[in-house]
């Protein structure tokens, strides 16, 4: 059958390009391994050109809105502005792989230009990685095993659509409206951060593969350490780019997502941070070893560079395989490529560990066991095989560490820079290991599962609760971030920052510590003063001691490195890289810790029915605000002016006013905390009532009528000038669900962050006459309730006298109770009497309407003993007031964090540039 209007030719062409890219990378790999340089290069060019052509073709399909392609249909719709085409392109896994491949090819082409002895070995690794990446796009099925996701898959060929009736219609594209428009991109991704964050991050990911490739090349030829120079340049490049990419992700979360921060220790964030940590450690070990005749910590140098790339692969596996399931907000769902991703990760893990071994006998043993495990895995014992494989890795690493690397017998001086750089690297490793552990709990559960019966048995016989818990293989990350992450990460960071401040002033080999102590005097003094100022300015609790210590050492690292630039490297631009980057990293940590721990949530839930909830569950961070109302919030008054729709956004205009002090006159009566007070004299209110209580107020235990009538809630101030307006919004998306987006007011020293937790985006449901609500409330005599603008109070209950009955249309035999209800709003205050009627032991429903107020009510039940009644109340849409539930917080000094990011990026690039200059001077073909 011929389908109408499909570009099937393009689909085949695109699949052809991918197949070509796949084949070419294979040829390139083999050629480089065999030493056929020019064949390898040509094949790599073919591979790169086909990859770039594939990417261009997909962009063209996006531009042409070709919805017969599944990938286009899933990530684009007719409304979406073309400026989000990039976000749409990498909105799915296929695009993500292509983006990764794009950078990988760019870097590969740069490496092709070099002419060193490492050329072939490095490019073989690059080609091998490309081979695996391209296989992710093949989209071939072998029985149940899916090899790759085809970006040119036609919608009607998608497995989930198999056998649906419409796929059998030749004219499906024109016959069904749903194929003339796509699904559109997740609203959260329609953001300019999503245009720049993923490319930066993926360039960072791609750049970790180059130190990896150099390390493998170095392992193959252990007599020559000249691979370290280019590897170091690329490592620092990777640190800069990956670090920037991660922090851009934070900036995106902060600006566009509404969880109220820039870092949430989400598994996806974590898994991109971990390779950065190990790469930093690896680069510092390279720095130590680059110029030494006798190497130091050589195994660790290799190992850190290797695992940085392996952890990038692991991160891809975690986020793209679906194994994280629901522990992460932004992981992908399982798309059927889990086995392939697993093979990808494990192949490179095996390769790296194989290369760590020096002796052929051990290498053969490694290969043999690996083959055996493969057999076991194919037989269906996958988890068991992987478990044994991981144990084998440990054995391999220990063996390689102990005997396969050149080591020096002499001890390093404890006062040499090398020693402290090494210590710093180990600290980074511990940090990385801990984060990986927390992130990997869903994976760990998979390994616990086959061990479950044994663990349960041991747990029972030893009566060990921990083993019993483990046997249930149901570990999940805790939600208390202080417990799960900060407990370990903060002390580590304290040490890292201290080492960073110290090591800059140490010399290689050995240093005179008296000079160092003298040099560090200014930095130490300044950080003591700075920390003192922080403790004075912010309310730290005693249990936050580690946090304060971290702020102290972060300041120390910043001052020490800045001082170093000023005194030691003045005018010597080439030495600026590392201290500038260190200042930047110190500022990142300082800004992150301070702005998060001293985040001040100024919105407070003031009217919540808190008594029904227990203490722990008491969320007081969100505030309900009615349209037109002005509420006190921290140092501001906030007013919800109105809302309006602009495109796909409903925007809520929140006006912020400054606080003008309120002056009380003698005789003014106020409520505070349920008690009544009268002012003794004229005074200006302090921010806290307790400050004024003793001097200016008199407690009134039994208020008289005047006092009771005039008493108002005590307030510290009155709204002054309007300062600014924030417009938090809700993005409308019928298919994906509406998404709130915050709006933030930025100052130099702090940010004010406002977002809508709940808001109505469409008019409420009403009946034909415009009545809405109809909720039943239980009320007691004396109770009040706000219905729209109107305050409704039950004043009393009384029996309807026989004489009244005729005029109310009641029969003499009826029993009737009247509730005396007063309705009060700005315009009027009137009494009303809805009735509760019993006739011949049946209840006659009596609907009472207070037209002037737009309120309808009906008494449902009545309890004379307790003087309570149940009443249903309706509100007319004409008197309805809109409201939102909002949250507002102040992030102090958050700009320090962003400044740190920029400095860190600048510093790393200065370092790359300086290394490039010196390396190419000493050896023309680095």
């Amino acid at each position: 059958m011929e389908y109408i209007g499909e570009w099937t030719g393009i689909a085949s062409f695109g699949q052809g390009l991918i197949a070509l890219a796949f084949g070419a990378s294979f040829v390139s790999l083999v050629a480089f391994l065999c030493g056929w340089k020019s064949v390898g290069r040509k094949a790599f060019y073919v591979h790169s050109i086909s990859t770039f052509a594939t990417i261009a073709l997909i962009f063209a399909l996006f531009g042409a809105h070709r919805y017969e392609f599944e990938y286009i249909w899933k990530h684009l719709n007719n409304e979406m502005p073309m400026r989000f085409i990039f976000s749409a392109f990498w909105g799915g896994q296929e695009g993500g792989f292509l983006l990764w491949m794009f950078w990988h090819n760019v870097l590969g082409l740069v490496l092709l230009r070099s002419d060193s002895k490492w050329h072939n070995a490095v490019l073989a690794t690059v080609a091998a990685i490309e081979l695996f990446l391209t296989s992710m796009l093949l989209g071939i099925y072998f029985g149940n095993f899916q090899l790759g996701l085809d970006p040119f898959l036609l919608l009607r060929d998608a497995p989930s659509n198999a056998g649906l009736p419409w796929t059998a219609r030749a004219d499906y594209l024109t016959a069904f409206p749903m194929f003339q428009d796509g699904q559109g991109l997740n609203p959260l991704l329609q953001n300019y951060w999503m245009t720049i964050h993923p490319p930066t991050l993926f360039l960072g990911f791609a750049s970790t593969s180059i130190p990896f490739a150099y390390a493998l090349a170095g392992l193959a030829d252990r007599s020559d350490s000249s691979w370290m120079k280019p590897a170091l340049r690329w490592s620092i490049f990777g640190i800069g780019i990956l670090g920037t990419g991660i922090l851009m992700g934070g900036a995106w979360a902060y600006e566009a997502l509404s969880f109220g921060g820039f870092w949430a220790w989400d598994p996806v964030e974590n898994s991109s941070l971990v390779p950065w940590l190990t790469l930093v450690a690896g680069a510092h070990l390279l720095l130590i070893n680059r110029n030494r005749k006798k190497p130091m910590a050589l195994f660790s140098t290799y190992y850190f560079l290797l695992i940085s790339f392996l952890l990038v692969l692991y991160s891809t596996f975690l986020t793209k395989s679906g194994i994280l399931g629901d522990t992460s907000v932004h992981s992908f769902v399982d798309s059927g490529i889990l086995p392939q991703l697993l093979v990808y990760v494990l192949s490179f893990v095996a390769l790296a560990h194989f290369m760590l071994l020096r002796l052929t006998a051990w290498k053969s043993a490694f290969g043999a066991i690996l083959a055996l495990l493969l057999l076991v895995a194919v037989k269906g014992y996958v988890v068991e095989a992987i478990g044994v494989f991981l144990l084998m890795l440990v054995v391999t690493s220990v063996k390689a560490y102990r005997s396969d690397f050149e080591r020096t017998e002499e001890e390093e001086s404890i006062w040499g820079r090398e020693f402290w750089m090494f210590v710093g690297s180990l600290l980074f490793l511990v940090s990385a290991a801990h984060i990986t552990w927390q992130t990997s709990l869903p994976v760990f559960n998979q390994f616990l599962e086959p061990l479950s019966p044994i663990l349960a048995q041991w747990g029972e016989s030893w009566n060990n609760q921990m083993l019993l818990d483990l046997s249930k293989h149901n570990l999940a990350p805790g939600t208390d971030l202080d417990q799960t992450y900060h407990l370990v990460q903060v002390p580590l960071a304290v040490l890292i920052m201290a080492v960073m401040g110290l090591a800059q002033w140490l010399k290689y080999k050995s240093t005179n510590m008296k000079t160092v102590a003298k040099n560090l005097f200014y930095a130490t003094a300044l950080s003591v003063v700075g920390t003192g100022a922080l403790i004075w300015a912010y309310p730290f609790d005693w249990w936050e001691l580690p946090r304060v210590a971290l702020l102290f050492t972060a300041l120390f690292a910043v001052f020490s490195n800045a001082d170093y630039i000023l005194r030691m490297a003045r005018g010597k631009w080439k030495q600026w890289g590392s201290p500038v980057a260190h200042v930047g990293f110190g500022l990142v940590i300082f800004g992150a810790v301070l702005s998060t721990s001293q985040k001040d949530i100024i919105s407070q839930n003031q009217i919540g029915d808190i008594s029904t909830l227990n203490e722990e569950l008491n969320n007081r961070e969100d505030l309900l605000i009615m349209e037109g109302d002005t509420l006190s919030m921290g140092p501001y008054f906030v007013s919800y002016r109105d809302r309006y729709q602009e495109g796909i956004h409903v925007k809520f205009r929140m006006d912020y006013f400054d606080k003008a002090p309120h002056t009380y006159q003698p005789g003014d009566v106020v409520f505070f905390d349920g008690m009544v007070f009268e002012a003794k004299e004229t005074h200006e209110a302090s921010p806290q009532f307790s400050d004024d209580l003793e001097d200016h107020w008199m407690f009134i235990p039994f208020p008289n009528e005047r006092q009771a009538k005039t008493a108002q809630l005590w307030k510290a101030g009155v709204p002054g000038n309007r300062l600014f307006t924030l417009e938090p919004r809700i993005q409308l998306n019928e298919q994906m669900g509406n998404a709130p987006e915050p709006d933030t007011k930025h100052w130099l020293h702090r940010d004010l962050y406002t977002h809508i937790k709940w808001g109505r985006v469409s008019p409420p449901e009403t009946d034909e006459e415009g009545w809405m609500g109809g909720r039943t409330h239980t009320m007691q005599v004396g109770d009040s309730m706000l219905v729209g603008h109107t305050l409704m109070t039950i004043d009393s209950l009384r029996a309807v006298a026989d004489t009244e009955k005729p005029e109310r249309g009641l029969l003499q035999k009826d029993l009737a109770i009247a509730a005396c209800v007063s309705l009060k709003n700005k315009e009027r205050d009137t009494p009303h009497q809805p009735l509760y009627i019993v006739r011949d032991s049946t209840i006659i429903p009596d609907l009472y309407e207070a037209e002037a107020y737009g309120i309808k009510m009906r008494i449902e039940t009545f309890d004379p003993q307790a003087e309570t009644l149940e009443m249903t109340v309706w509100e007319h849409e004409s008197v309805r007031r809109d409201f939102v539930v909002m949250q507002a917080s102040i992030f102090p000094l958050i700009n320090v964090l962003w400044l740190g990011c920029i400095l860190m990026a600048i510093g790393t690039f200065m370092a790359v540039w300086a290394r490039w200059k010196t390396d190419t001077k000493s050896r023309p073909h680095g």
Binding site: V430, N474, A476, G478, T479, D480, Q483, V488, G608, G737
Partner: protein, 136 residues
């Protein structure tokens, strides 16, 4: 003993220490029955919204209280009190993860994650239905 050995030992100690230190804070994913056993302890329960009951959210009364019923993996249903404004899309959610603890007969959740049906599946669902009418 060489300094490198001391460092390696410290490293291993730090690694083990950090795992154990945070192991106690690790929560468990359980079903409602198991959560009852550990009443008061934080745990994670996954499941789906029980649509037989309405989702109650009365912001005028309490803007940070949402009440609904959820089926856990075993099919047991329990009343859930979520200490948050009603998340958008709760009614259409495909699966829900709750973090919190059992208090009395209710599950009190402090945090909630949900997966909304990707539009893809939703439309597929539409496509399967008989209401698909071609514009012939």
């Amino acid at each position: 003993m060489k300094r490198s050995h001391i460092l390696s030992l410290l490293l291993v100690a730090a690694l083990i220490g950090s795992f154990i230190a945070t192991f106690t804070s690790t929560s468990r994913s359980v079903n409602f029955a198991e959560a009852m056993e550990f009443a008061g302890e934080e745990c994670k329960v996954s499941g789906t919204l029980n649509t037989a009951f309405p989702v109650e959210y009365n912001p005028e009364v309490d803007p940070t209280k949402t009440v609904f019923h959820m089926f856990d993996a075993t099919g047991a249903s329990k009343r859930v009190v979520l200490n948050q404004p009603k998340p958008t899309g709760l009614e259409n959610s495909e699966s829900i993860d709750l973090y919190g603890s059992v208090v009395g007969e209710e599950f009190h959740a402090t945090e909630m994650l949900m997966k909304c049906p990707s539009k893809y599946n939703e439309n597929n669902h539409v496509l399967m239905g008989e209401d698909l009418q071609a514009e012939d």
